[in-house]
Symmetry: C2
Subunit: 341 residues, 2 copies
C-alpha cells in the first residue's frame, strides 16, 4: 500500500528545486513565467497526479463551491427528483451538494441550517418543514452572507428568490375536473395551515367550487398532520360520516396515496363510491389500481431553476436588490380514479 500522502505544490517545487510560488503561477497559467519552467511544472504535476487542495483554497478565498440543500426527506419522489435537477446544474457549474433532511421538524431544520453554515457552504437551497412559521434562521443565513433560495414550500416572510409551481391553478383545475365529471360533494385533504403552498391549493379548490356555484363545507376541509395513523384516521372519520363526500381532492402526494390505500381497505369503490384526484409525483401513478388522476409537478425543472438562481446569487458580487419568484406550470394527468360515475 502506497502512503496516503496527497501530493502538493510543495512536492513539485522540491522536485524541480524551485519555489512554490513559481509552481503555483505555472499551474494557474500566469503570464509571468517562462515557457520552459511552465512545461516542466506541468509535466511533473501530471506525473505526480497533482490535484489542488480545495480545502486550502476555501480557507483563503472563503468560497467552498458547495451548496447546501435541506429537504424534508430524501426518500421521497418529489424531493429526490428536485435534487436530481439541482445536481444537474450544480455539477455543470462546478459545485457539490451537501444534503440534509429536516424530517418535517423545525428544530432539525434550524440545526441543519446552522451546521451547513458552519461548514461554510456558499449558498442554501431549502423547502421548509411543515412546522416552519418563523424563518429567522434563514434570515440569519442571509445576514451572514449565505444566499438562500427557496423552492416548493416557500415563505412570504423571507425576501429572496423562490421557485414554486402554480399551486392555485393546479388545485383549481383538478377540482374543476372533478366537478365536470359530475361530482359536487368534494372534500379537500390537506396539511398544516401555515404553508403558503397548501393555502394556495386550498384557495384553488375553494374558487373552483365557487366558480361552479357549489357551497364549500367546513367539515370537508380536513387538516392532517404527518403521522400516517393520524392521516388514515382523519380520512376514515370523514368517509364514515353521515354526509360523506363523493370525491376527494388531496393537496400532497402522501395523502393521495393514503386515501387510495384506505378507501380500498374500507371497501369503497374508486371512482364508483368516491372519486380521487390529488397532487402526486410518483411516476407509477398511472399504473396504480385504480390509476390515479394527479396534478404533476415539473420537479426536475424546479431543481434546475432553483440551482441556477442560487448560483447566480453566489457569483454576482453585488447584493441583489430585486428578488424574483419563478412560477412553473403543473399538468393534470387524468386517469381512472376521477372518471364520471
Amino acid at each position: 500500500m502506497i502512503g496516503p500522502h496527497q501530493v502538493t505544490i510543495k512536492d513539485i517545487a522540491k522536485r524541480l528545486k524551485i519555489s512554490v510560488s513559481t509552481v503555483s503561477r505555472a499551474l494557474r497559467g500566469s503570464t509571468d513565467i517562462s515557457q520552459d519552467t511552465r512545461q516542466l511544472v506541468l509535466a511533473v504535476a501530471e506525473e505526480l497526479q497533482y490535484s489542488p487542495n480545495p480545502i486550502a483554497l476555501s480557507l483563503r478565498d472563503k468560497k467552498t463551491k458547495v451548496i447546501g440543500v435541506i429537504v424534508q426527506e430524501i426518500a421521497n419522489n418529489y424531493c429526490s427528483s428536485v435534487i436530481a435537477g439541482i445536481e444537474d446544474i450544480a455539477f455543470k457549474m462546478g459545485y457539490n451538494l451537501l444534503i440534509s433532511q429536516s424530517h418535517e421538524k423545525i428544530d432539525l431544520e434550524i440545526l441543519h441550517a446552522r451546521l451547513l453554515a458552519s461548514r461554510r457552504i456558499d449558498g442554501l437551497l431549502i423547502t421548509i418543514s411543515n412546522e416552519t412559521i418563523n424563518t429567522d434562521h434563514l434570515q440569519e443565513m442571509i445576514d451572514r452572507g449565505i444566499p438562500v433560495v427557496m423552492f416548493d414550500r416557500v415563505s412570504d416572510a423571507l425576501q429572496t428568490h423562490k421557485v414554486v409551481v402554480d399551486d392555485y391553478k393546479g388545485a383549481f383545475d383538478a377540482t374543476s375536473h372533478l366537478i365536470e365529471q359530475g361530482y359536487r360533494r368534494i372534500a379537500h385533504l390537506t396539511i398544516s395551515k401555515q404553508l403558503t403552498i397548501t393555502q394556495n391549493r386550498l384557495n384553488g379548490y375553494l374558487d373552483a367550487l365557487k366558480a361552479h356555484r357549489i357551497a364549500a363545507k367546513k367539515e370537508w376541509i380536513v387538516y392532517c398532520d404527518f403521522e400516517e395513523a393520524n392521516m388514515k384516521n382523519e380520512i376514515r372519520k370523514l368517509m364514515l360520516s353521515k354526509q360523506r363526500p363523493n370525491a376527494l381532492f388531496s393537496s400532497v402526494e402522501r395523502l393521495s396515496m393514503l386515501s387510495l390505500k384506505l378507501l380500498k381497505e374500507i371497501n369503497l369503490k374508486i371512482p364508483g363510491d368516491v372519486a380521487l384526484a390529488g397532487y402526486a409525483d410518483n411516476p407509477m401513478s398511472p399504473y396504480l389500481n385504480p390509476s390515479l388522476t394527479s396534478v404533476c409537478q415539473p420537479t426536475f425543472s424546479i431543481g434546475q431553476n432553483a440551482a441556477e438562481l442560487l448560483i447566480e446569487l453566489i457569483e454576482s458580487k453585488k447584493a441583489e436588490e430585486k428578488y424574483t419568484t419563478i412560477k412553473l406550470k403543473t399538468t393534470l394527468d387524468v386517469q381512472e380514479s376521477s372518471l364520471r360515475k
Copy 2:
C-alpha cells in the same frame, strides 16, 4: 445588512486582549487554563456566536468529516432510500454527505470518484454503474488512503467491506413461488451480464427451475440495456414470439415496472396471460394494477450498515486486514400479479 464576516478565534482573542492559543485552549477544554479566563472566553464566544471553521481544521488534520456517495440516480426509490439510511448514521456520527450520480456511465463514475477524492472526502460509499467492470479507480481511492465500502452492486475485484442482499435467495424464492403457482414457462428479464448482483439473481432463477426439474431456455433469459425503448423492445419481442412464456421474473425494478406497462399496452392479462414477479422497491407496488409481487430489499438498513462499516474504517487508524460482506435478507411480497392462473 451585517458584514458577512465569520467570527474567528482571533476576534475573541482581540476582544479579551489575550492570545489565540489561550482562546483555543479555553474553547477545547484544556486543563492548562484558569477557570476565570475559560469563563470569559466561553462568554464572548457565545456572545459573538463563534463556530469553529471546519475548513481550517480539515487543512490541519487532513480529515473533512465528509463522506462521498456515488449512486446511479438519486431520483430512484432504491437509491434515495439507501441514502436516507446512510444519512441517518452519518448525521449521528457527525459526518456530512457529498452525493454524486454516475447515471450508469463508467466515465462519469470515474470522474466523480476523482472529483470527490480531490475534495478530500474521508471515505466513499458506492454502488457501481452497470458499465463498470474494471474497478481500478476505486482501488486508486483506497491506495490514496480513502476507504471505500460498496453496497448493492459490488465487485469481486475489489477487496473491501461490502453490503448486499441475498440476491440468489430472493430470485430463488420468487421463481419458486411462480412455479408453485403453476407457471412453468418462466422467462427472466435482466440487465448487464457483468454485475455480480444480476449474476446471482440469474443463478437463483436457474436453480429454482432446476430444483423443480424444469429445463431453462436460453431465449428466455433476456438481457436489456438501460434505455427504456430497448427494454420495451426486448420484452415485446419476447412476448410476441411463438413460444412465449407465461410468467416473467425481472431482476430490477425498472424492468418490473416496464413489463407491467408494456403488457397492458399489448393487452395481455396479468396474471391471466402472463404472471409477473420481480425485484422492486416502490412502496406503492401493492397498489398497482395489478398489484405487483415483488422482492423487497431492506434499503434503509443497507444504507445504515454501509455507513457504519465505512465510518469504522475511517476512524480505526490501523489498516484493515479482514474485510466482511454483510448479506441482508429480502422478503417476497406476494400480490395479485403472480397468483395461480
